[in-house]
């Protein structure tokens, strides 16, 4: 009797879960379809005339993060969005339109940024986006505008000074599902890794002395270090996470404008100034 009962419940559970999954699937498909068709339509019309369209509008539409410290963070008090990504966006607006304030920021997340771009809601995505082969099939990327890499956050004065000093006995903290967990296990076989639901929990555990170092993209780690003076990022990044600016596929003129801006910023020292302003130190050469 007991067994049958449990099977009954199990099947009820499965059916319920199936509905949920099916629902999600449908939503995703709908989103993708409309994104794809929207993208094509916009792509054909604009093609290499995308810059002309931006100029006609007189305003650059940029998708940025609103929740990422140092890169794109909405200040709850002032309502302003500020960060490295925003300063870069302003420089691009200045290059294309001659006015760094001719810009409209729109919030994107890792999930929404490509659909919004392909829908034509934004001209470009400047949102801590790593250039990957998979994403290159969906969008075009500019040159690397920020070189991130996986690194370690430790308490100041920790014996850990970089990946070299991580041994099997080191307790590493990380976030579930992040590629950084896989990376560290590959670099230091047998290392103990404690995984948490998100970076805030992992950081709280580090503060509570539950582990020796927290690992993920240094860009995120710098944000944490800026929250608490007692912690610092140590060692050289040991993976490559190049951030690029994404535009709709085929908008080569926009990519060129972005790359020209980046080259200009790097040549006149403006890039280093923005980098130092947010990250707290000059970029590694």
């Amino acid at each position: 009797m007991n067994k049958f009962k449990s099977f009954k419940w199990l099947s009820v559970l499965m059916v319920a879960a199936l509905f949920v999954i099916a629902g999600c699937g449908n939503n995703n498909n709908a989103g993708n379809n409309s994104a794809a068709s929207g993208g094509n339509a916009a792509g054909n019309a604009a093609d290499s005339a995308a810059i002309a369209k931006i100029k006609e509008r007189g305003k650059l539409l940029v998708g940025v993060k609103y929740d990422t410290r140092l890169f794109g963070l909405k200040d709850p008090a002032s309502g302003n969005v500020e960060g490295f990504d925003i300063d870069i966006s302003k420089a691009i607006a200045k290059h294309i339109l001659g006015d760094e304030n001719a810009i409209e920021l729109k919030e994107v997340t890792s999930k929404t940024r490509i659909p919004m771009l392909n829908n034509g809601e934004i001209d470009m995505v400047v949102a801590t986006m790593t250039i990957t082969e998979e994403r290159k099939k969906e969008v075009d990327f500019s040159d690397v505008y920020f070189q991130a890499g996986q690194s370690l956050l430790v308490k100041k004065g920790s014996p850990i000074t970089g990946l070299e000093s991580v041994t099997k006995d080191t307790k590493i903290l990380g976030s579930k599902g992040a590629t950084s967990i896989k990376n560290i296990k590959e670099k230091v076989p047998g290392v103990t890794v404690l995984e948490f639901d998100n970076y805030q929990d992992a950081f709280a555990a580090l503060k509570a002395g539950q582990g020796d170092a927290l690992t993920t993209d240094d860009a995120i780690l710098y944000g944490m270090a800026s929250q608490d003076d007692g912690y610092e990022v140590v060692g050289k990044p040991f993976t490559d996470e190049p951030y690029g600016i994404a535009v709709q596929k085929g908008n080569t003129d926009v990519v060129k404008a972005i790359n020209d801006t980046l080259a200009e910023l790097k040549a006149n020292g403006e890039y280093d100034a923005i980098y130092t302003k947010w990250i707290g130190k000059a970029p590694a050469k």
Partner: protein, 216 residues
């Protein structure tokens, strides 16, 4: 349903299953002992102990389990002796469950008619003897069903260990699902592992209950 997840990651499932069993057994013993002591505090005539017992039960059972576990995870480390996720989680689980067990035991003892105590005491038995030989044997019959419920809840609640990286079944399941992207399949197997623990317990409690009913 993709059974390759079960076979490919069987080692991880087992490691987590073992963690869940170990944590549950330790928390079960701990919560039973602690709960019994608190139950005695709750019914004793000594005022200080009674207040303590009442305060303990009302405090612990009226805050979320997650918070109890957080207290044992972050609290000791603030005082300089950090407990790892497994220990903090197991202690938190034991403390949380003990409040409910204390209430179940107290309710069982209170349900034994007052005349039993009076009769036993007037036949010359001491308070302790009365408890041991008259009240508790009758109370236990009434206590077993709610205790069984608490123990089943305890096993399921042990999944809270995953929040503090306590190496339990859910913790490893999270890792498996983020690696395979087969969330639904991964967790269905987790449900089966939990049922392997809880169904026999549920059945055992019922058998024990029936046997005790027969005795009197």
């Amino acid at each position: 349903m993709d059974f390759s997840i079960l076979t490919d990651y069987f080692g991880l499932y087992l490691e987590g299953f073992w963690g869940t069993i170990l944590s549950s057994v330790l928390a079960l013993i701990g919560s039973f002992l602690l709960g019994s002591v608190i139950a005695v505090f709750r019914i004793t005539t000594v005022k200080g102990l009674r207040w303590f017992g009442t305060g303990y039960v009302e405090f612990v059972r009226n805050i979320p389990l997650l918070l109890v576990v957080y207290i044992f995870y972050y609290g000791p480390s603030a005082l300089g002796f950090p407990l790892d996720g497994f220990k903090a989680g197991t202690i938190g689980l034991a403390v949380y469950t003990s409040a409910f067990i204390a209430e179940a035991i107290r309710a069982g003892i209170m349900a034994v008619p007052k005349g039993q105590m009076e009769a036993a005491r007037s036949s010359g038995l001491s308070y302790i003897q009365t408890m041991m030989h008259v009240i508790l044997p009758q109370a236990i019959k009434l206590v077993i069903p709610p205790l069984g419920n608490q123990f089943i809840n305890l096993i399921k609640n042990s999944s809270v260990l995953t929040i503090v990286a306590g190496m339990d079944l859910m913790y490893f399941a999270d890792s498996i699902s983020t690696e395979t992207y087969r969330t639904f399949d991964t967790y269905i197997f987790v449900a089966v592992f939990y049922l392997v623990l809880t169904l026999p317990l549920s059945y055992g409690v019922r058998v024990w209950e029936r046997r005790l009913q027969r005795k009197y």
